[in-house]
């Protein structure tokens, strides 16, 4: 049988009504092992204005590089209470902030390990289908250099996927258009 998937539609301006209940400020609760990181930034439109009716979602492995999903075949420990999902709506200025743990490396195509990364989806009014991107980590230059996904990104644009250290926070902006436009993936 071959059906085609239903069409995506925008979340619209009132997304909070249906989606806010699952807001996750801290993806890694108490007792979850790993290096704590706080990531904050803004979602910016083509005029550089903050998008106040947007939302990002995060999917990630734990510090061992294991996903809480039955299709992850790796024999690695998974803590009870670890889901690895976060949902963060933007505020009135388009800002978002969440904390988590830095994930471990997970297998990639051809047995090459991927660099530690978070998978990110971006939703907002004015977007008919969500965008997908990734967050990598600046303190992993070796792993980043051999990452099979990052390698496909034109070198001058790779920096858009790597947050910059700003005090105790990692600053990462989602820039929809123009100079420093964030790299988005289509799978």
């Amino acid at each position: 049988m071959s059906l085609f998937a239903s069409g995506n539609q925008t979340v619209g301006p009132y997304l909070h009504i249906g989606l806010e209940w699952l807001t996750t400020r801290d993806i890694a609760g108490k007792g979850i092992k790993g290096e704590r990181v706080a990531i904050a930034g803004r979602l910016l439109d083509g005029d550089g204005n903050g998008v106040n009716d947007g939302l990002i979602e995060i999917w990630q492995a734990n510090a061992e590089g294991k996903y809480a999903h039955p299709e992850d075949p790796q024999k690695k420990p998974l803590e009870k209470g670890w889901r690895g999902f976060g949902r963060i709506p933007t505020d009135a200025k388009g800002g978002f902030r969440f904390s988590t743990i830095k994930p471990g490396r997970v297998p990639g195509p051809g047995g090459v390990l991927q660099a530690p990364h978070l998978v990110v989806t971006v939703f907002m009014r004015g977007m008919l289908k969500h965008l997908m991107t990734r967050i990598y980590f600046a303190d992993e230059p070796g792993a980043n250099a051999e990452d099979p996904v990052l390698k496909l990104v034109p070198a001058p644009r790779r920096a858009t996927l790597i947050p910059k250290k700003k005090g105790r926070t990692l600053e990462w902006n989602v820039i929809l258009q123009g100079k420093n436009e964030t790299v988005f993936f289509d799978y």
Binding site: S2, A5, Y14, G18, L19, G108, P109, H130
Partner: protein, 236 residues
């Protein structure tokens, strides 16, 4: 590690483009650089798992969330969540949100001068059963104006958010009502080029799920992305 069995690419014309000028807000919010097409990896073919423990048994009934009954026509919305291979997607979270019967959302940014219904919040959630079926009880949402173009009105709709079994099956869509005269004027609806794909977003009246003397039934089946290859052991 065994080879990743990926998810199918969309059939041309069945998904909206990021840049769709008739929906004005896409202009400043669509990427202008080409998207990068990486291989699907373990990171994308996995995704968050939600279960029946994540929702309350009453979350699917939007008419029972306050002291009184909401104003409007009660309806039952049922359907199945399938994948492109026609298989059920069981135990998957569905979130819905919608306007009240007068076309108003209880949201700080909704300025439409239609009344708020103190007995209707307009949000619900449920998890599909073992056969991928779901059921919501709600009231029929009203149409409402928006500022996209002169005299623009959104057809009646319910927003649906689904996860499926992978982050690649994540989808947010909208359900419309059969015979709505506003559909051909609505850029959200017309953004999907393929007519059959567009019509998949329109629910059908369903006599069998209609509750006598209580509520009309509408059926809305949702198809999520399916696997590229079929693992043999799962063949029926």
């Amino acid at each position: 590690m065994k080879k990743i069995v990926g998810y199918r690419r969309p059939h041309p014309g069945t998904q909206p483009a990021y840049n769709y000028p008739p929906y004005r807000s896409t202009q400043k919010r669509c990427p202008t650089q080409p998207l990068v097409l990486p291989p699907q990896t373990l990171s994308e073919i996995t995704g968050p798992i939600f279960g029946h423990g994540d929702v309350k048994p009453t979350d699917h009934d939007l008419t029972r969330q306050h002291k009184g009954d909401p104003i409007g026509e009660r309806i039952v919305v049922t359907g199945r969540v399938l994948d492109e291979n026609g298989r059920s997607v069981p135990n998957t979270l569905i979130e819905v949100w919608q306007a009240n019967s007068s076309g108003r959302y209880p949201h700080r940014t909704d300025q439409h001068n239609a009344p708020i219904d103190p007995n209707f919040s307009g949000a619900g959630r449920t998890v599909t059963d073992a056969e991928g079926r779901y059921r919501f009880i709600t009231i029929r949402p009203g149409e409402y104006p928006w500022r996209n173009h002169f005299n623009a009105w959104r057809p009646a709709h319910i927003h649906f958010s689904l996860f499926g079994q992978a982050f690649l099956t994540r989808m947010v869509t909208q359900m419309y009502f059969p015979g709505d005269p506003l559909l051909p004027y609505d850029p959200m609806f017309t953004c999907i080029e393929n007519e059959a794909a567009r019509n998949r977003l329109v629910s059908v009246f369903d006599w069998e799920s209609t509750i006598p003397e209580q509520a009309l039934g509408y059926r809305f089946d949702i198809v999520l992305r399916g696997r590229e290859e079929t693992p043999m052991e799962k063949m029926p």
